[in-house]
């Protein structure tokens, strides 16, 4: 567990290595999923191909979509794509950069699944056992079977226990043949993927480095700006809430003092501060009234300045129209010379 935690800390040290960490974890999960999966070839003429190719191609597609889902930047990209133009132009190269980098990371787990599947060989053996070249590997003329019957016999190659075509073509020979083809395809696929990755990475400095620096900067900027905006709003909401609640308590305390003709008790100097903090609410009945008022009649979202409060008090005052100072959409004013 500790090792896991340290590895996590190491990977979280910056954004890039965090994303690479997620990639690596998904790739390992993909390999683990394959080894845990219990492959069961149906051994029937039409079904073999569908099952084999399905296992080869459907899980990678799911893993690809999962790669997008687990990437935090998808919502950033979507927001940037759909926002109204406002006073800030949209740069398609930035959107393209973000999309490309997300796609590249999402492709790793599916590529691992396909490679592991092909190198293992069961899928291809199941899918293509009916296409084995019987003339070269065995004796086609021996039994004089029709096409359909031969296909039925060959379809049972992956299921050794029920295979009856030993004199047609030996089971081990056919399995070795199909496995060899599958592993060759697997290694070619691995080589192709690494070559593509290498080309993508190494051609970039030769052709588009300046544009790349620009796109990378602005895509990081968009991400950081969004996070900072959320933080600023949260800070603002906290201060707002503090003042709002403080004013509410002050208002209640003034009300109750006026209603019950209770003069505020004169506390000794050393507990004056504590009493101040209690804001005049000092017994159970009063507290219950305060809580009930808070629930039934929350104050409006409008922080009137202290000067106004002391002259008019709380109860019965007509509040000015509520205009929440919480930030609005990006369409409204941006500071022009930023």
């Amino acid at each position: 567990m500790d090792k896991f935690r340290i590895l996590f800390q190491f990977l979280q040290s910056n954004q890039e290595s965090f994303m690479n960490g997620i990639c690596g974890i998904m790739a390992l999960a993909s390999a683990q999923m394959y080894s845990a999966f219990d492959f069961n070839c149906p051994c029937l003429p039409g079904y073999n191909l569908v099952y084999g190719l399905g296992i080869l191609l459907v899980p990678p597609f799911i893993l690809f979509l999962l790669g997008f889902v687990m990437n935090n930047n998808v919502s950033v990209l979507a927001e940037e794509w759909r926002r109204p133009q406002g006073q800030r132009g949209k740069d398609p190269s930035v959107l393209r950069y973000m999309f490309c980098s997300m796609t590249q990371r999402a492709m790793i787990a599916p590529a691992v699944w396909v490679s592991v599947t092909l190198l293992d060989g069961k899928c291809i053996t199941c899918a293509f056992c009916t296409s084995v070249p019987v003339e070269t590997l065995g004796n086609a003329s021996r039994r004089g079977l029709s096409q359909g019957e031969m296909k039925q016999v060959l379809a049972r190659i992956p299921c050794k226990e029920i295979y009856e075509g030993q004199e047609l073509v030996a089971n081990e020979v056919a399995v070795r043949y199909l496995r060899c083809i599958s592993q060759a395809l697997g290694w070619c696929f691995v080589l192709l993927m690494t070559t593509l990755a290498f080309l993508v990475r190494s051609l970039r400095p030769c052709f588009t480095q300046a544009a790349f620096l620009k796109s990378r900067y602005w895509s990081h900027y968009i991400d950081i700006e969004r996070k900072l905006f959320d933080e600023t709003c949260a800070e603002h909401a906290k201060s707002f809430a503090k003042v709002c609640i403080q004013q509410f308590f002050e208002g209640m305390s003034t009300d109750l003092a006026a209603g019950h003709c209770h003069p505020p008790r004169k506390a000794p100097a050393d507990v004056a501060e504590a009493a101040e903090k209690l804001l005049g609410v000092t017994d159970q009945g009063t507290m219950n009234t305060v809580l009930k008022s808070w629930h039934r009649c929350k104050p409006p979202l409008h922080l009137h300045p202290p000067a106004l409060l002391s002259s008019n008090g709380w109860a019965g005052q007509k509040q000015p129209p509520v205009q929440p100072p919480v930030p609005q959409s990006k369409v409204t004013a941006y500071y022009s010379h930023v």
Binding site: Q183, V190, F198, C206, K214, Y335
Partner: protein, 301 residues
């Protein structure tokens, strides 16, 4: 756990040791991949050679490309090679040094795969079982040529019905394995001797140029990293300013419609300095373009 953390910290401490770490990891991954891989020779006349040699050579190429991809310095070297001249000259010795150090490290994992393959022997037995001289082995000596090819092709498959208890099969297998292991050990010995000589004899040739090349290649790497970090810092401050200005303008709008709200204090002067006068999109784009096209000269006097 502490040991683990120390190891990770050590490997992150400088870029050389990061590269050595990646190199080592890939070599281990290469051995692990070989042991996990289920080698199954097809035992058919032409397919054997293709399969055996394919397994011996295609994974090393993939591992080599993988090392190049995972190594950050290869990108740095390519950028340095392709950048426009600007105010800063290009030193080919530095680029050559970086290139050679990258390729040396990238060759480790492929060589490990090839050596492990040869020492294990299965690949060579599969690839060359048909090329053995049948006269040397009793069981294959008096068989017709066509049949002998088929039989020899089945040598790597121990469980085949023809080959199960065939002593000649074992003889051929042992013979090929012996060659394979001899080849493996020889390659290993040659490589170690070459590495040893290269390390010992290097100080005799051009040591000063080497020191310079190593220094400046390190410098280029560090400069790149610091530039990226500075850009990140700058974009953070930029975003902060942008948002503060946004709030300020909202406040001004509200000021026009309602009572005056208590204004906030002056914005921190320090942040203005950190933004260094780069305060709009055009200026940032220009900065990045100039950084690429005209790097500043190496002179901070």
């Amino acid at each position: 756990m502490d040991r683990f953390r120390m190891i990770l910290q050590y490997f992150q401490s400088n870029s050389e040791s990061v590269m050595n770490g990646i190199c080592g990891l890939l070599a281990l991954a290469s051995v692990k991949m070989y042991t996990c891989f289920d080698f199954s020779c097809p035992c058919l006349p032409w397919y054997n050679m293709a399969y055996g040699l394919g397994i011996m050579f295609i994974p090393p190429i993939a591992l080599f490309l993988c090392s190049l991809i995972l190594n950050r310095q290869s990108l740095v070297m390519l950028e340095e090679w392709r950048r426009p001249l600007g105010h800063r000259k290009k030193d080919l010795a530095v680029i050559r040094y970086m290139c050679s150090s990258i390729i040396q490290r990238a060759m480790v994992a492929p060589v490990v795969w090839i050596v492990v393959t040869l020492l294990d022997g299965k690949c060579l037995i599969c690839a060359f079982s048909c090329s053995v001289d049948p006269e040397k082995f009793v069981g294959f000596a008096n068989v017709s040529p066509v049949q002998v090819q088929q039989l020899l092709a089945k040598v790597p498959c121990k469980d085949d019905e023809f080959m199960r208890n065939n002593t000649s099969r074992k003889a051929v297998s042992r013979y090929l394995r012996c060659w394979s292991q001899a080849l493996g050990w020889s390659i290993l010995l040659i490589l170690i001797v070459v590495a040893f000589l290269a390390r010992w004899l290097r100080p005799c040739f051009n040591q000063a140029t080497l020191l310079q090349a190593r220094h400046w290649s390190n410098y280029i790497d560090i400069e790149q990293k610091i530039f990226e970090e500075t850009c990140c810092e700058h974009s953070r401050l930029f975003a902060h300013k942008c948002i503060l200005h946004f709030f300020e303008s909202m406040r001004q709008e509200i000021k026009q419609h309602s009572f005056s709200l208590p204004g906030h204090g002056e914005e921190a002067e320090g942040e203005e300095d950190l933004l260094q006068g780069i305060t709009d999109q055009e200026q940032v784009n220009k900065l990045l373009k100039i950084w690429y096209y005209e790097k500043p000269p190496l002179d901070v006097s």
